[in-house]
């Protein structure tokens, strides 16, 4: 068995008002140390004001092989976009 500490995915909020964004991952025995490691590895130049860590094994993701059936149904629904509607020029801002 691997002697590695568990892997944690690191998410960083670059500044107030922005979402946390995936930055990378770190190994750590617990969440608190994972946050400390993430600080050292990913925020040496003020890249963040807040850090989340999540155990990699706790992440559930969609299956890339099923990406077609998963995402294609949205493809032909172009009427969900404002540009689908052609309006007379007189309507200036809408």
């Amino acid at each position: 068995m691997s002697k590695d500490w568990p892997l944690w995915e690191v998410f960083i909020r670059a500044k107030g008002g922005l979402d946390h964004k995936h930055a990378g991952s770190v190994h750590a025995p617990d969440g608190e140390m994972a946050v400390n490691h993430a600080r050292d590895v990913y925020t040496r130049r003020m890249e963040g004001v807040s850090i989340w860590v999540v155990k990699s094994t706790d992440i559930v993701s969609s299956d890339p092989d099923a990406a077609g059936q998963m995402f294609e149904p949205a493809k032909d629904k172009i009427y969900r976009h404002p540009t689908f509607y052609e309006l007379p020029d007189e309507v200036k801002h809408m």
């Binding site: 590695d4 500490w5 990378g24 190994h27 750590a28 025995p29 617990d30 040496r44 890339p64």
Partner: protein
């Protein structure tokens, strides 16, 4: 360079029996400059080649801390010391970004670290040269990080997503490395005669090893074609080496230092510098572990790892205690 076919004795064979439709779809995606992500299907040879390339790159970053770390306590001012410390810490960070990228391909950190410590894994030959004077720290930042930048910038568009993203992060940090090195060279070049001689001596010793960082010439790099097709290499060794020479020669002139190559001349028709032959026997000797500091580097690395064992054990024990308390 950090990774360029250091052990080309073992090219990864293409696996037979992989489903043709999957292989074709993969080749088409890569050819269209799409990114491949960890859970996407990929040929085994692609996975293995990448694990080797990325882990060698990671090891180079880690071992790369040693030649410079050697001068942290002897930096000539508090400011230079703080800068060097930050630079070396960045290199440690680069190693960690890259190990993580390799792990997304199924390599374990544990195995990679073991391979480095046991001497099985290769790392860039450049770090087996000694740092004799403070000017070497300038020359490393200027030339070695400069060569690293040449190599890493195109890798930001490499086909494997996690590797490309790690390279984006790395490249953002590298230009500070090169500039701090050049600023050390500038200070020495503007200093006393002895300081200028020290700068010239460092350039003399680091020039050729820096050119070797780009790896063997193209006609001696059998894997180049496939790696280019798979976008895990984006420019050939010789192309990158030429770019590096063309960018660096004027910088040396600005310092008033001379490149230790009597054959170096500007070629008007090519719009590039012609330069002398590289001593590849030296390169292969260093790859084989005959570099001046090869033993010293791995010994120092292992010592750091072993000396830190009690910290890792304490962290494990603390976590186990917390878990036990939660169960109770």
């Amino acid at each position: 360079m950090y990774t360029t076919e250091l052990d080309k004795s073992r090219p990864v064979d293409l696996q037979t029996g992989e489903p043709k439709d999957l292989v074709d779809a993969f080749e088409a995606r890569v050819a269209a400059d799409e990114f491949i992500e960890p859970k996407d299907w990929m040929p085994e040879a692609y996975r293995k080649t990448l694990i080797r390339q990325i882990s060698q790159h990671a090891h180079s970053e880690i071992i790369g801390m040693y030649p410079e770390g050697n001068w942290i306590t002897r930096a000539p001012s508090l400011q230079r010391k703080a800068i060097l410390l930050a630079k070396v810490q960045d290199e440690g960070g680069h190693g960690l970004y890259l190990y993580c990228a390799a792990e997304t391909l199924g390599a374990s950190r544990d195995e990679m670290v073991d391979a480095l410590h046991s001497g099985k894994a290769k790392y860039s030959t450049i770090f087996n040269y000694p740092t004799l004077t403070w000017a070497d720290i300038g020359a490393i930042g200027w030339l070695v990080d400069g060569a690293a930048i040449m190599n890493q910038v195109p890798l930001q568009r490499t086909s494997y997503g996690p590797y490309a993203r790690a390279m984006v992060r790395v490249c953002k940090e590298e230009s500070f490395h090169q500039r701090q090195g050049y600023s050390i060279m500038l200070a020495l070049a503007e200093g006393t005669d002895a300081q200028r001689r020290m700068a010239q001596d460092a350039l003399n010793r680091w020039w050729w090893p820096s050119l070797m960082m780009f790896g063997p010439p193209d006609d001696a790099s059998p894997n180049t074609e496939r790696s280019m097709r798979w976008r895990i290499k984006r420019e050939t060794n010789d192309e990158l080496r030429q770019k590096f020479v063309d960018a660096t020669v004027p910088q040396a002139e600005l310092l008033g230092l001379s490149i230790p190559d009597p054959d170096l001349t500007w070629n008007e028709t090519r719009g590039a510098y012609d330069f002398g032959d590289i001593d590849w026997s030296e390169f292969y000797a260093v790859v084989k572990g005959e570099g001046m500091c090869a033993k010293e580097r791995i010994t120092a690395r292992k010592k750091a790892w072993d000396d830190g064992a009690w910290v890792r054990e304490a962290a494990d024990a603390y976590e186990a205690k917390k878990q036990a308390r939660n169960v109770a």
